[in-house]
Amino acid sequence: MTATSAAVPDGTLVDSWQATDTRFETAVAELARMRASTEIGATRAAVVNLVVLAAADAGATRAIDSIVGLGHQHPGRIIVIVPRDEAEDDRMAARLELYCSQVEDRYLWWDVVRLEIGGPVAGHAESLVEPLLLHDLPVALWLAGGTSRVDSPGLLDLAAQLIVSGERAASISALAAAEDLAGLVRRKPLFDLAWVATEPARQALARLFDAPERTELLARTDGLWVEGPPWSSRLLAGWFCERTGLAAGSVEIVAGDELRAEVGLGSIRAELEAGPVWPAGRVTTETPEPPGSGPGVAVACLGQTRVSVSHGGSATRRLLVTALSRPWRDRRYEAALDLAGRLGR
């Protein structure tokens, strides 16, 4: 066991324990010991269980590392399951971390349980997760390792909400990703990080057309060109088509930034074409000016009206904070998803 006091964003690591070859009950006992430590106090407030089914690759590991401070916004328990590649190696490695952050005179506590597992148990991870869950709180399952193959189907049953990175899922085939995601949507409320990444752009576009004279223009749109991360661009376009009735064949998707290891939207640019109705021809989304004014999206129409929507924080964590705040079905997303796999010309 190692007790440490290291700062992480919005939290301090106050206790930890790790073992490379341990038994589950040992880890559970250590977790109880950490909870019972007098430092944490007798009462503890919590709002969520976040279960992360991770992949062993470096990108996923970085993404998971970036969310450790998530407990500051959503105190509770983060359980990270990392299935090991070596299928025959059934040793379990565990790392437990207890974090605290202070908000004025209040303290928030959360813990992170990381279990690295191999062998047959990798197909029954729910048998490890269930005993670790904080009772009476919803379970959000982040399929950080991908959506196409979940080794432990029982995990899906535990979850009240699924969180996925559509960008990661679509890195090989948009059509296959759309099918995978649609399958998951049928089972549970699904929150696609790529979808929420488009939210500032969608908000900005919506505000731009708020005025009645502009709303009319939407019906006359005859083309959409989107450049950005592939899946976010498709979702944005799918949403626009579903909302306006624009034909899927009138959309052009241009892969922009290469998929980044960290989940989230880099930049996205959309142009609407409306022929003679819009002499200037285009609505664009872009990064706000001047540079350094903060992350966000700005939309300009006819070179005159600008609408800015800002968002803050690092991509993965910001998106997850939003995801955990909305554990319900998003019909707009489901409609956009329905179109997203078929878009592009």
């Binding site: 109880a32 909870r35 019972a36 007798a42 503890r44 407030a45 148990v121 009476d136």
Partner: protein
């Protein structure tokens, strides 16, 4: 005459001069529970010098062997324990043989002389239940049960108290022929747990809970006694018991009694046990049709629990390959009194469930009207108050709270109170508490004869209907929360089982 120097001082509870006679002294319960509990009492200085243990069992052992066993059962217990163990005695013999009790009598006389135990005895029957009557009768025949005024002789027995109402009554008749009811201490170790006792404090020492502890505010109650273990090497015993007899008839009924009873006039043996009996008498006795619609029995198949692949019940050692013994029970009970009429009481217990947990959850009615946009309260659950009995004893309150931000979004927050973290003082183990109570002579946390009788009245019709195969046994995979058929008990009222 009382000690004038002790007046006004908190002296703490101490055992009086007494010899603790343990039948089944070479067994698992003695090593695993009783000896560690005695060592803890010794460490807390709640045993005086006028204390001794006399072990009785069939195993071939002498005083030295028993002392060695006691020392090994609690390694690193400290010098007090080592000193105490030196006075332990052992009587080897068959419980059906009079000579065993003659020798026990002689040893107890020697102990009285050597340790000043004053002729006081507590007889702890850590034996199989079939021996309870045999030992009690033998103790009576050898003048060890009913002692002269100024001395006490108490009998401590553990569940099961019979396997049906008739055998329970027969057992009672046998032991009552040797011991008065007020000298019989029936242990349900759940009652020795701090959290069960804390229910009394929670309900009756606070003004905020009791006013809502009734049918007006409580929508339903759920009691869960879940074990992640299977039957292990107890397959033979379990085949004759099953979950209904093993857990519901005793632990569940006791927990229900404490949780749902009326406030006692005083927290003492009469006050609490009288109210528990009243509550048990108010539980509806099911007829055959009701058993069919309000009970589910299950048996586990192979599966995965806590990361381990486990075998099914029928593959366990000592279990018949076509066994229909229940390893899981779920029931919907009704308590017909003014406080709880119309409030469903859901109870479930099982082996090879996903985790080990015992809890009582009060689920409160939803508010009559939510003055918020429905989209902003979609993930708001009804309030609940959960008393966790094991592990990590504590209380959790779940309530709605506004999510910080410009929108008025409300979500469920759990506020968890950990008993272990709240008090630095280490909680005594259940056996530690109950052993001391038996020696001190406080029967508050022990079960009275009429409680046993009433609990059997609730359970017996279910056993009867099950034995007639009116309720088929449902299968469930180890590591799940039981058979799907159990869901219909709660879903009928639009409710669902909790995930503890």
């Amino acid at each position: 005459m009382s000690n004038p120097l002790a007046a006004g001082m908190e002296m703490g509870r101490k055992a009086p001069p007494v010899a603790l006679v343990v039948f089944g002294a070479s067994g698992d319960l003695t090593s695993r529970k009783l000896l560690p509990a005695l060592a803890a009492l010794s460490r807390r200085r709640q045993l005086t010098d006028a204390f001794a243990v006399v072990g009785v069992a069939r195993s071939d052992m002498d005083d030295q062997g028993f002392r060695k066993m006691a020392a090994e059962a609690v390694p690193d217990a400290g010098p007090e324990w080592e000193e105490l163990v030196k006075g332990f005695r052992y009587v080897q013999g068959d419980y059906g043989h009079p000579d065993t009790f003659d020798r026990l009598h002689a040893v107890l006389d020697e102990v009285d002389e050597a340790r000043s135990t004053n002729g006081n005895r507590v007889f702890y029957l850590a034996t199989v239940p079939e021996q309870f009557g045999v030992v009690a009768a033998a103790l009576d025949q050898h003048g060890l049960a009913r002692l002269a005024p100024g001395h006490f002789g108490r009998l401590v027995i553990e569940k099961p108290f019979g396997r049906d109402p008739e055998s329970a009554a027969a057992l009672d008749a046998t032991i009552h022929s040797a011991f008065d009811e007020n000298s019989i201490y029936r242990i349900d170790h759940y009652l020795g747990k701090e959290t069960v006792q804390n229910v009394l404090a929670l309900r009756f020492a606070n003004a905020i809970f009791e006013p809502v502890w009734n049918r007006q505010y409580v929508d339903h109650v759920q009691v869960t006694v879940a074990e992640s273990l299977g039957v292990g090497h107890r397959g033979g015993f379990y085949e004759t018991a099953g979950a209904l007899r093993d857990i519901v008839q005793n632990h569940v009924m006791q927990v229900l009694g404490i949780t749902l009873m009326e406030p006692p006039a005083t927290v003492d043996a009469h006050g609490i046990r009288d109210e528990k009996v009243k509550l048990l008498k108010a539980i509806e006795i099911m007829d055959e049709d009701k058993v069919v619609t309000s009970s589910v029995r299950g048996q586990y198949d192979a599966g995965w629990v806590e990361g381990e692949a486990v075998i099914g019940y029928r593959q366990e050692q000592g279990v018949a390959p076509d066994s229909t013994t229940d390893t899981y029970v779920a029931m919907r009970l009704a308590v017909d009194n003014w406080r709880w009429a119309g409030v469903p009481i859901f109870v479930r217990t099982g082996k090879r469930l996903p985790k080990r947990v015992t809890e009582v959850a009060m689920s409160f009615a939803k508010v009559p009207h939510l003055p918020f946009a429905s989209a902003l309260t979609r993930d708001l659950e009804a309030n609940s108050l959960v008393v966790r009995i094991q592990p990590d004893e504590g209380v959790t309150v779940c309530f709605g709270a506004k999510v910080p931000g410009s929108e008025f979004r409300v979500r469920t927050v759990s506020m968890d109170f950990s008993y272990g973290a709240a008090f630095i003082e280490e909680s005594p183990d259940a056996y530690e508490r109950l052993l001391l109570d038996a020696m001190v002579g406080d029967p508050t946390l022990f079960i009275r004869s009429d409680e046993v009788e009433q609990a059997w009245k609730v359970v017996a019709p279910v056993l009867q209907a099950w034995s007639a195969e009116d309720v088929p046994i449902s299968r469930y995979a180890a590591g799940t929360w039981g058979p799907r058929q159990a869901d219909r008990l709660t879903e009928a009222g639009g409710r669902r089982w909790r995930r503890p």
